[in-house]
Symmetry: C2
Subunit: 172 residues, 2 copies
């Protein structure tokens, strides 16, 4: 069956989590997944430790330690995002994976760390049977147009708005 292109976007919680859940499910069926994190920096994200315990899941992580300021993008941030896209491309064409996840790629494109045209090209040139998941808010309309499945994670209610801080192990 031809591979599908999934997009998880929107301002609500659950986009990266959903992509990781898809990887978990895929691993259970013996499918091989590669995850490229575009903007995770060096934070000790819990999921990355756990992912290492699962068979058939490989992970590559890009981005700097600091948060990106979309109004003051640094050359090294662009380079990291470009390296991330190249990493995903190599994985996609390696023949070693059934599913490639580009986590936060939508944000990287929206903030012009990478050119959205290169993301479109990645999708159009992917091997036919490969599934691809793209996450992050601000998904470009052109990406949505060529995707097969798009879910908008919509924030209905968020505790940060009530002054409750993020919770380690759950939110990050």
């Amino acid at each position: 069956m031809a591979g599908l292109v999934y997009v998880f976007t929107g301002d609500g919680k659950g986009k990266t989590s959903a992509a990781l859940g898809v990887a978990l499910r895929a691993a259970g069926h013996g499918l091989r997944t590669h995850i490229t994190f575009f903007m995770k920096g060096e934070y000790p994200y819990g999921e990355q430790k756990t992912l290492g315990l699962l068979p058939n899941i490989s992970v590559a992580r890009f981005g700097s330690l600091e948060f990106v300021d979309p109004n003051k993008v640094k050359p090294e941030e662009k380079e990291q995002a470009w390296l991330a896209l190249e990493n995903a491309r190599v994985a996609a064409h390696s023949g070693h994976f059934d599913l490639v996840i580009l986590d936060e790629v939508n944000v990287a494109a929206a903030w012009k760390l990478i050119d959205v045209a290169d993301v479109i090209r990645f999708i159009k040139e992917k091997p036919e049977n490969l599934d691809v998941v793209l996450t992050g808010r601000y998904a470009d309309p052109d990406v949505i147009a060529i995707a097969d499945l798009v879910t908008e994670m919509k924030e209905v209610k968020h505790p940060h708005k009530r002054g409750i801080p993020s919770k380690k192990g759950i939110d990050y």
Copy 2:
């Protein structure tokens, strides 16, 4: 920090996947998770095989083999859903878990397999520090009202609408 109540609802793909991703992240931080599947029956869901490989995640599965017809709910389907809620309640109060996930509980309540008042009571009586995730479409307004974080997974585009069937390892 006080535990939070998360709801993943809506008609789009990614609700259960997001809950599993949260469990994966929690396990990476050494948190202990129990997942109660309300309506999964005996299908060979890939994620359940993989979950068994992770530390600090336990799983209980309820529901019959057949799909539930919401207009013709059978007594055994109600019993399964009731057992599921009891299972989640026991896990929540056992002191063995930091996070309890009630997968598809919203659907079970919407279809009257269980009384939504019992779901509300479960939330209100949970140990203070316990985090809870409730998934499934049709989340009850009263559940949303007492939840801390609610994401609506909204279907923007779905391949099934174009006649493409579900894909093993990705969709189920």
